[in-house]
């Protein structure tokens, strides 16, 4: 009887550690896949951002450069916000419960 109880405890502990391990590694891999997917979906905007930065560099110290720099910063902030929102949306869609926040977005509510 004692051996049976000890066996049950030992195998339960092993299953529990497997559970912790899978949740820890699984959530991290799932997040990487989601981030890569969202980055691929937003590739056109990322290229536009690079072009805008390149254009801003070409104008030296002129007024156009300042305007392009401002435009670049606005575009970059919007890009980051949209990227984080899209990743957060996909995290919720895939029910990854381990992640309670992404960037500035709280997912626990």
């Amino acid at each position: 009887m004692l051996i049976f109880v000890v066996c049950a405890i030992t195998f339960s502990a092993l299953l529990l550690s497997l559970h912790f391990y899978m949740r820890l590694i699984g959530s991290s891999k799932a997040l990487n896949i989601i981030e890569e997917q969202v980055a691929a979906d937003m590739q056109i905007r990322a290229h536009q951002l690079c072009l805008l930065a390149y254009e801003a560099q070409r104008f030296g110290n002129s007024r156009e450069k300042v305007a392009l720099d401002d435009e670049f910063q606005d575009f970059l902030h919007l890009y980051i916000e949209d990227y984080q929102a899209e990743v957060a949306k996909k995290i919720k869609e895939h029910n990854i419960n381990e992640i309670s926040a992404y960037g500035f977005i709280n997912l626990s509510k």
């Binding site: 502990a13 092993l14 497997l18 381990e98």
Partner: protein, 164 residues
């Protein structure tokens, strides 16, 4: 080689704490630092538990044999649980070194259960050698990875400072 492994295993936690201290001089991630700290504390706790189990084996060898392996499996499970809980609570991204440490803890548990099944459940007693050198070898692999991570991080940080 076998003696070398068991002798080296006794000094592993010193290396682990030294690596943790080294990681304080460069901006390492919290995930890695906390996981290494949990691993070091768990290792020290296990070093304290081992003599107690040895004492039990003097009075009741049968009982000691029965609780020896489950004790280590429970210790590893608790360690993994604390690491998982910390990452979940503070929303940390799981670092590569954290993944490696968790894998080593998992392998540790698996080997303990395998030996428990071999010695207590089936009574075959064929995995003695694998257990004797397997457990210290897993610990050595984890601590070496931590040392490499700490040293390479420090060198990378120094290089970045020189470039600035």
């Amino acid at each position: 080689m076998g003696t070398f492994i068991t002798t080296l295993a006794e000094y592993l936690w010193v290396l682990c704490i030294c690596s943790l201290l080294l990681s304080l001089i460069w901006p390492a991630s919290k995930s890695a630092r906390v996981t290494i700290l949990i691993l070091a504390l768990s290792g020290l706790a296990q070093d304290k538990i081992a003599p107690l189990l040895m004492d039990i084996s003097e009075t009741s060898p049968e009982l000691a044999r029965l609780i020896w392996y489950p004790s280590w499996v429970i210790c590893q499970t608790l360690t993994l649980g604390v690491i998982w809980f910390a990452h979940r609570k503070f929303v940390w991204a799981v670092e590569q070194i954290t993944q490696f440490i968790c894998l080593s803890l998992m392998m540790h548990s698996f080997l303990q259960v395998l030996r428990f099944t071999d010695r207590v459940v089936l009574g075959t007693d064929v995995l003695g050698g694998i257990y004797k050198y397997g457990i210290p070898a897993i610990n050595i692999a984890a601590i070496l990875a931590i040392c490499l991570w700490a040293v390479s991080g420090a060198f990378r940080y120094r290089k970045e400072l020189e470039e600035c």
